[in-house]
Point group: C2
């Protein structure tokens, strides 16, 4: 590869995050309003161009921080988008990630150097977005549904443990379907990913529910 060959010039990498949360039983995604061209004033996913001197996930976390004020969002690779004309400015390949945050623990910045607004949108109510970000969200949703049972991606929602009714609500919200209470308990307990604690806590009912927590990696 000849570094000065025009065939390779002006390529860049977008690192993009579909950041989800759940607020009052509704799955939401974090969007920002762009302040600059291209797609000025258009809503978009959080993300931007990777620097030369940072690893992919570090770049993504920097972008998330710069555009929303959020720090240390845990992210997982979702997919790659590389159509040659997906950016009107120059050739950009997008690496897309999924992130989950606890809405009670974060405060997003509405106005930054490059964004004029930031807001949570219900997943059923996403507007037309910059670039191919609508496609990216679609793919991220699919991956999210696949990974909730097999990974501990939901851990961030429950830093202090959770009751099974709570967890079930989150599942129902992400999968967008009702689940049977008894079968849900069996399934979750069978994955061997969670353990019972001593505590109890009221959730929606009057009766107190048992609190569980995700196992640590070592357990």
């Amino acid at each position: 590869m000849e570094i000065h060959n025009m065939k390779y010039k002006n390529q860049g990498i977008h690192v993009i995050a579909s950041i989800f949360t759940i607020e009052k039983g509704v799955l939401k995604i974090l969007l920002i309003k762009r302040k600059n061209e291209p797609f000025k004033n258009c809503w978009a996913l959080v993300g931007g161009a990777l620097y030369n001197d940072e690893d992919l996930e570090d770049g993504l976390n920097r972008e998330i921080y710069e555009k929303t004020g959020l720090k240390n969002v845990e992210v997982r690779l979702s997919s790659v988008f590389g159509k040659k004309d997906r950016s009107p400015v120059m050739r950009m390949v997008a690496i897309s990630y999924i992130g989950m945050v606890n809405i009670n623990e974060v405060k997003i910045l509405k106005d930054t150097l490059k964004t004029s607004n930031a807001a949570w949108f219900s997943i059923d109510d996403v507007p037309f977005l910059a670039y191919d970000h609508n496609d990216i969200i679609k793919d991220a949703m699919k991956k999210l549904k696949e990974s909730i049972l097999t990974t501990d991606i939901l851990k961030v929602f429950f830093p202090d443990g959770f009751t099974l009714p709570e967890l079930q609500k989150v599942y129902e919200c992400i999968l967008d379907e009702k689940l049977d209470r008894r079968n849900f308990r069996k399934k979750i307990l069978n994955t061997n990913q969670i353990v019972l604690t001593e505590e109890k806590q009221a959730f929606e009912g009057k009766k107190k529910a048992k609190i569980y927590r995700f196992k640590e990696e070592s357990e």
Copy 2:
């Protein structure tokens, strides 16, 4: 993003394929010997730098063709490798794919503009490779194992159909474990991905085996 900012200059995208085949019951991977720096004379996966004016998979297929003479290899996304120092020349992010080819139907070029050799290596016998290609293979192997049951990625091995003993050999070879004949048949037939044909054919035994084929997408 300011296009002339040094933070974004000299970035590129590697498109890389772990091309597998099965030869005499052994899983093999296609490697090429590099003719140029960096990693001159080192073995490496097939792939190279993406051009500005081509989609990701088109670029990958071009690289495969240039370096091995193979055309139209069907590929699937595997993962992404983006450590900042993974290339000594400039910042390169690698998009890695899995490809399968039928060794009876291809002839690879041993010598091209950029390669001085190309050869199939048993998966247990892969040498030290250029860049982070050893890591990329490891990941591709994991993805390959996950996808053989749920996708028709093995179709290319059997353009004219296959017998179940044949297919089982391929599974055993990729998963690196022995499978029970009766349970294998049940499992495969249950996936509803294959259909019985009228023909029969001898494989390893004297008795002729029934020939199946993968369903078309429309079936």
